[in-house]
């Protein structure tokens, strides 16, 4: 859905066995990341369902068994479909989050903020109503107190701000076309000097009865 909307996402494929996971890692490239896939689990890392930076297909195969065991131990009743395998995103990206929710008075709103552990504490986020105009996307970024982190600090190059703005506009467009999406979280989005890459996403969609 995101890729179709023009959002660059890390390739993600489902593996139901350790052997399949190792084969996927071989094909997509290492280091790789594994994440549990289950309709019953929202917070994957809290459930022990995430392993990052796996150096080889063999490490991926071993991690598959560990993840399945760990999640089963914590949530025995959860239905587990397998794990998703992704190549690790290149290092050096700045973590950004993009979210969509529905406000009782104003309808769909989009949020953008700096990601990582600090976001919970600093709540450095900017909101706008959907649909966004290009000016809105630009102003959202300038509202962030952490904007210097995106512009580059201490010799670290700045990220592609236009690409972040473009991402916000594409998400806004997606929601305008798919108002049945009640919530959408792109977290994290990694911003690099030349592009942005969405590493993980979660959507909540209303089902018509």
């Amino acid at each position: 859905m995101l890729a179709a909307a023009g959002v660059a996402v890390t390739p993600t494929e489902l593996a139901r066995t350790a052997v399949a996971a190792a084969a996927l890692a071989e094909r997509l490239g290492c280091p790789a990341a594994l994440k549990i896939v289950s309709p019953d689990i929202v917070h994957k890392s809290d459930a022990g369902g995430v392993r990052l930076g796996l150096a080889s297909p063999a490490a991926v195969a071993a991690a598959f068994d560990e993840v399945m065991r760990a999640v089963r131990a914590r949530q025995p009743t959860a239905h587990l479909e397998g794990v998703s395998v992704q190549p690790m995103a290149p290092p050096g990206g700045v973590e950004v989050i993009v979210g969509v929710s529905v406000d009782a008075q104003f309808g769909h709103v989009i949020m953008c903020g700096l990601g990582g552990v600090l976001v919970e504490v600093l709540r450095d986020v900017a909101f706008r109503l959907i649909p966004l105009q290009p000016r809105d996307a630009r102003e959202m970024l300038t509202e962030l107190h952490g904007l210097p982190l995106l512009r580059g600090v201490r010799g670290r190059p700045g990220v592609d701000l236009r690409a972040v703005e473009e991402l916000l506009l594409r998400v806004s467009q997606l929601i305008a076309q798919r108002p049945d999406i009640r919530e959408l979280d792109l977290n994290p989005v990694l911003a690099y000097p030349d592009r942005v890459l969405t590493v993980d996403a979660r959507a909540l969609v209303t089902v018509e009865r």
Partner: protein, 484 residues
């Protein structure tokens, strides 16, 4: 629910007003408030204990709205809540223009009877297409025609002006109408809209958007029902005239207080702020700031940038003023070489400093060299590096001398007034004398009356100027985009 412009026009420009149920216990609030109304006023009261006092005020009393022998444009209903539906039914039968339901005790109480009654009056009004304001509110003020919502409110041409106000609080609406005119912000029209069960903030905003008497709109808002409609009307309005929004309930405890006040549902503050910015409106945090920004926008000079040229009379205030302007997001750059060349011809560097801020106490000599003040202002006006001009009058030290030598003060006021008349750049004057607040306020009043934009502190000046700059920047951006 939407009403025609003509409906609102009739409500805001009534010829006949009726007050239903005003009484001694209320201090005859409404009848006293409306004593200076230039049209015709009726009281509707059946209690024989109340009628003599009403008639003693010179107000004609009738026993029913239907007994009034002419058409009624506007009705204030102040009866107990359980009687309200019956009185509203009379309003419908009488085909009145609009009704303010002052009566409280509806959904804001949270009790089942209040909620039921509110639903009942809402249905009644909607089915009859009755323009109902409130309940739980102070209704409309049009000060020019002596129509106000509190006794002793200033009315008439001196109180009337070009700022329209929408308030989800009677108190804030009334204090705006009282303070505004005294602080250079005359009122075109004001409405306290309470629980807004029929007409809501978006309807009033739409009306003021198209109102030729209103150049600037200010509002105190706690929450809106149909957010999308409010946003759309807000966007349309800011493209034509500035809208200043003061949001109440920006803390968690404040949001709880909102519910028991107007029963509005709280929007997360961050969403509200984003919406305001997106719509190109101006968010303020207090009534002080609301009036500062309104006054600044009314001054009529359009800021083209955020580079400030500052004049102060002594060192410390010049530093603090510079901090205030910088912290508010303005720049305080160096002037052009040409300006410095002109300054060197007369500027007293001993006991002063001629960078930016210009610490010009010795140059102006507390008003003894007011000709130099004029030269300083002209240099900043013609300097191509400066978009905004602000001056701290140094009243903390000079007010005593101004009091002793009124001619000195008058000369300074004359120069500032003449400059304010012809400057193309926004120009603000700070008059602050903490030890003589009354005299400082009087000096500010003198300046305001002469058309000089004044502020009581450099922080308030800086914020208000910054807010107006942002508004005009948004307007230019939007216009540039639409002309592509």
């Amino acid at each position: 629910m939407s009403f025609s412009r003509a409906r609102f026009d009739r409500a805001f420009h009534p010829r006949v007003i009726a007050v239903v149920g005003d009484k001694q216990m209320n201090g005859f609030l409404w009848l006293r408030a409306l004593q200076r109304f230039s049209g015709k006023l009726y009281s509707v009261q059946i209690d024989p204990n109340e009628i003599p006092a009403i008639e003693a005020m010179g107000v004609a009393n009738v026993r029913s709205l239907l007994d009034i022998p002419e058409a009624v444009d506007y009705v204030v209903v102040a009866v107990p809540r359980n009687v309200a539906p019956r009185v509203l039914a009379d309003c419908v039968r009488k085909e009145v223009g609009a009704v303010t339901l002052f009566t409280a005790g509806f959904s804001e109480t949270g009790d089942p009877e209040g909620i039921r009654l509110e639903a009942e009056i809402a249905t009644l009004a909607r089915e009859a297409n009755l323009l109902l304001i409130g309940p739980n509110c102070m209704g409309i003020a049009n000060l020019r025609i002596g129509m106000c919502n509190f006794p002793n409110q200033p009315v008439g041409d001196t109180a009337a002006g070009r700022v329209g106000f929408i308030g989800q609080s009677g108190t804030h609406t009334i204090t705006f109408c009282m303070r505004g005119p005294a602080e250079g912000v005359g009122v075109s029209k004001a409405v306290s809209c309470g629980n807004s069960v029929v007409a809501d903030a978006s309807d009033y905003l739409e009306y003021l958007r198209d109102d030729a008497d209103t150049a600037v709109i200010a509002a105190y808002i706690e929450g809106v029902r149909n957010g999308r409609r409010f946003f759309d009307v807000l966007c349309q309005t800011t493209a034509i005239k500035p809208v200043i929004l003061w949001k109440g309930g920006v803390s968690e405890a404040g949001q709880r207080a909102i519910f028991s006040h107007t029963a509005a549902l709280a929007t997360p503050v961050a969403v509200w702020r984003g919406m305001v910015r997106q719509a190109g409106a101006i968010a303020v945090e207090s009534q002080d700031e609301l009036l500062d920004v309104a006054r600044t926008l009314l001054a009529g000079t359009v800021a083209t940038g955020s580079r400030a040229g500052l004049i102060a009379m002594t060192g410390g205030p010049s530093v603090v003023m510079t901090d205030a302007f910088t912290q508010a997001g303005l720049d305080v750059p160096l002037l052009t070489d040409a300006s410095y060349a002109k300054l060197r011809e007369f500027f007293q560097v001993v006991g002063g400093s001629l960078r930016n801020p210009l610490d010009a106490g010795s140059t102006i000599a507390m008003g003894f060299r007011s000709d130099n003040l004029e030269r300083l202002l002209q240099i900043l006006l013609s300097d191509s590096c400066i978009d905004v001009i602000a001056m701290d009058l140094g009243a903390a030290l000079s007010i005593d001398r101004y009091l002793e030598h009124p001619a000195l003060a008058a000369a300074v006021v004359d120069i500032l007034a003449a400059f304010a008349q012809h400057t193309s750049k926004p120009f603000g004057v700070i008059v602050d004398a903490p030890h003589r607040p009354v005299d400082a306020a009087r000096l500010r009043d003198d300046l305001l009356r002469r058309g000089v934009l004044t502020f009581p502190s450099p922080q308030r000046a800086a914020r208000a100027l910054r807010q107006s700059i942002e508004y005009w920047r948004m307007r230019r951006g939007a216009e540039a985009q639409s002309s592509l």
